[in-house]
């Protein structure tokens, strides 16, 4: 416990960095994943193909490889930027594939008559998706999306290996190897930091789930 309190500043900075990464990456992957899901149910075959290809690539590639391409592939293409954003980009690309599949399963769970009725009153595909199908799909999708986002928070521990300085997990390397502290107590502190993010996230999801259930 002393190790944690003696280095509380380092832990706090790491925690804040990880929280920032997770917030940006969560918003990004939820938006992008939903857009890709609409591609996958689109009536236009090229969009459907693009959506399927996206999911196939990013869901089946290890996150480490996606992050490699972001941190080292993008600069190769002449794209310069902070590793912080490269790391978030990698997390978003990877997580969006899982968000997409969760949202798509939600869309498929909405009775087909809902989309038919929307089309029959003259809504375009986009309108029927936005006004009728997605709002209903997202309700059934809260629990799986929650799992996806919590997994993303844990996955964010890898970005430290790709130049994103000072995230929570990298606190471990500074304290153990550079300062020579014992690994296990240091890691317990790191684990605590992640739990402070993931457990309230899980509780918040429960609340959201109950709220949307009442609205139904």
């Amino acid at each position: 416990m002393d190790i944690i309190f003696d280095n509380i500043g380092l832990y706090r900075d790491g925690f804040i960095t990880t929280l920032q990464i997770c917030l940006y990456a969560a918003v990004g992957s939820l938006l992008l994943g939903t857009v890709i899901a609409t591609f996958r149910v689109s009536p236009l075959p090229p969009l459907r193909a693009a959506g399927t290809a996206w999911v196939t690539v990013f869901r089946n590639c290890p996150l480490t490889i996606v992050l490699f391409f972001c941190a080292f592939g993008l600069p190769e293409l002449g794209i310069k930027g902070a590793y912080f954003w490269f790391g978030i980009t990698g997390l978003v690309l990877y997580t969006s594939a899982f968000v997409c599949e969760a949202v798509r399963s939600g869309i498929n769970a909405v009775a087909p008559g809902q989309a038919e009725a929307a089309r029959a009153v003259g809504l375009t595909f986009t309108q029927s998706l936005r006004d009728v199908v997605l709002p209903q799909a997202l309700r059934s999708v809260v629990p799986p999306l929650g799992s996806v986002i919590i997994a993303m928070v844990k996955n964010s521990a890898i970005v430290g290996a790709f130049g994103v300085g000072g995230d929570l997990f990298s606190v471990q390397a500074r304290l153990t190897s550079a300062q020579g502290l014992s690994l296990i107590p240091v890691l317990l502190g790191v684990a605590l930091g992640y739990l402070i993010i993931t457990i309230p996230a899980g509780l918040a999801l429960g609340v959201i789930e109950r709220r949307v259930a009442v609205m139904r």
Binding site: A117, V121, G122, L123, F125
Partner: protein, 252 residues
């Protein structure tokens, strides 16, 4: 019953329409015209293709062959033009298909606001008038699941009417209702017919067909077998298949 005005072009025209579901030939060489202001009832045993015919008119079911025109305009491919055309074609489903996450009033307002770009207050006022007209204005703020089947179907009719459609399609509108609720829906439909709305109604309600239809179309095995005025169809059907069908229906 006054004869419909013989205006050109017809509101619905189907020419040589064919459709298959896999190996099943569900529409065979359908040729049908519905004039402006005309009420046509489509009868036939289940599996005869009458529902598919109804749904193909606004391209909820794409056809394999032939042509369909609405008010002189051929049905466009999937896209904005088709959405615009569907806005002019009201449709009422067997299962109501009210938007489950929206209140009754919101169900009626959605398309006028999104498609016709009418302001929200204006759309709400129009919605309330329509709900009054179908007799459920007091249910405006409830969600579909809180209403009875009959009330839901009347709300669905109001939703379709809110777009001021040129023609209304009814796909077995009373088949999913408890018997005591059938009449309230039929009453709304009958008054619509009286007001001169062009209607194509797929139904098993013989009473409605006798009372409100100008023409009865009888389908069997994907074909139109008879197309005549109600009196003649019910009293002296020409085909064997229609006689069989009527025999089964009327004895029950």
């Amino acid at each position: 019953m006054s004869a419909p005005a013989a205006a050109d072009p017809p509101m619905i025209r189907m020419v040589g329409v064919h459709k298959h579901f896999g190996s099943l030939h569900v529409l065979r060489d359908i040729n049908l015209e519905v004039a402006r202001g005309e009420v046509v009832v489509v009868l036939g045993p289940s599996g005869s293709g009458k529902s598919t015919l109804c749904r193909s008119i606004n391209r909820l079911e794409p056809i394999d062959e032939g042509g369909i025109e609405i008010d002189g305009t051929p049905l466009p491919e999937e896209g904005r033009a088709l959405a615009r055309l569907r806005a002019d074609v009201g449709m009422v489903f067997q299962q109501f298909n009210l938007f489950a996450h929206k209140t009754i009033a919101e169900n009626v307002e959605l398309a006028p606001v999104r498609v016709r770009r009418i302001s929200k207050p204006e759309a709400h006022e129009a919605a309330m008038q329509l709900l009054t007209r179908v007799g459920i204005s007091d249910q405006a703020d409830k969600y579909p699941a809180q209403l009875s089947g009959g009330q839901q179907q009347r709300a669905a009719i109001a939703r379709a009417l809110a777009m001021r459609p040129k023609v209304m399609l009814f796909d077995e509108p009373t088949s999913a209702l408890d018997p005591e609720m059938v009449q309230e829906v039929l009453d709304v439909m009958t008054s619509l017919a009286r007001e001169g709305m062009t209607m194509l109604v797929v139904t098993h309600e013989m009473g409605f067909a006798r009372r409100a239809a100008h023409r009865v179309v009888f389908m069997s095995d994907g074909e139109i077998v008879e197309d005549s005025v109600p009196d003649q169809f019910f009293t002296a059907p020409r085909s064997v298949r229609a006689r069989d069908f009527l025999g089964k229906i009327l004895t029950h």
